[in-house]
Symmetry: C2
Subunit: 118 residues, 2 copies
DNA sequence: CGGTATCCACTGAGATACTG
DNA sequence: CAGTATCTCAGTGGATACCG
């Protein structure tokens, strides 16, 4: 039987849960152009706190989307990069991102119009 | 200047917020094959409560992604359908959905492996 | 049928401070 | 540098019951 996101028991629901948190998409996008260190990600992804960044990265790692490499040096150095699975997610995500960047204004206008007549 | 989701001030962030809630994606997908009534959506989208369904639909309506048509009949009849903007969102969303349905298992396996060694 | 109303619980997320 | 440790809180979502 075909998978169906609309079915709550379907595993594909967990994917949407992962994607559906506030930072995951952003971080995957931030990693789309290659390897980055913790503090680089912190800069690139606006306003994310270290705690949340850690949480999200751990979640991505757990799900096999991100690879974490620790170098035994002082000061510490840790690199994050997308796995193959993570990179494969990039494509659909890029589509969403493009849509977002192209249609955000239209959405905002619709919202203002709706709010105005209320 | 190019839009950039990573910038917290960028309007495209609001798009991700909309998409990033628990039910929006699911409901848009449920509406992808045409017009549906409230109770049809309730059935199709597993485990959604009426309150949350209403909330989400109102949000989608506000943002110009969904159209709501009320028929003045007894018993009441209300139809929901995607707007043009909403339909345009369908494409990127379908990409995500497909990815989810194809890779959910791989993700779950990675997760189990990660949890096992902990 | 298509919702509201009410109340509650939980988690995601933020602020701040600290450490190996 | 790359995180942890606490604490706190708001918002999102859920259960249940009821209404036009």
């Amino acid at each position: 039987m075909r998978k169906n996101v609309l079915d709550p028991a379907c595993p594909s629901r967990v994917v949407l849960n992962r994607i559906g948190d506030k930072w995951t998409l952003l971080i995957v996008i931030a990693l789309s152009d290659g390897v980055h260190r913790f503090s680089e990600l912190r800069e690139r992804v606006g306003e994310v706190t270290p705690k949340v960044l850690t949480q999200t990265l751990r979640g991505l790692e757990r799900d096999g989307l991100v690879d974490r490499t620790v170098y035994a040096v002082v000061p510490p150095k840790v690199e994050y990069r997308l796995t193959d699975l993570g990179r494969s997610l990039l494509e659909p995500i890029a589509a969403v991102k493009d849509w977002a960047e192209r249609n955000a204004d239209a959405m905002l206008e619709a919202r203002e119009r709706a709010d105005a007549e209320a």
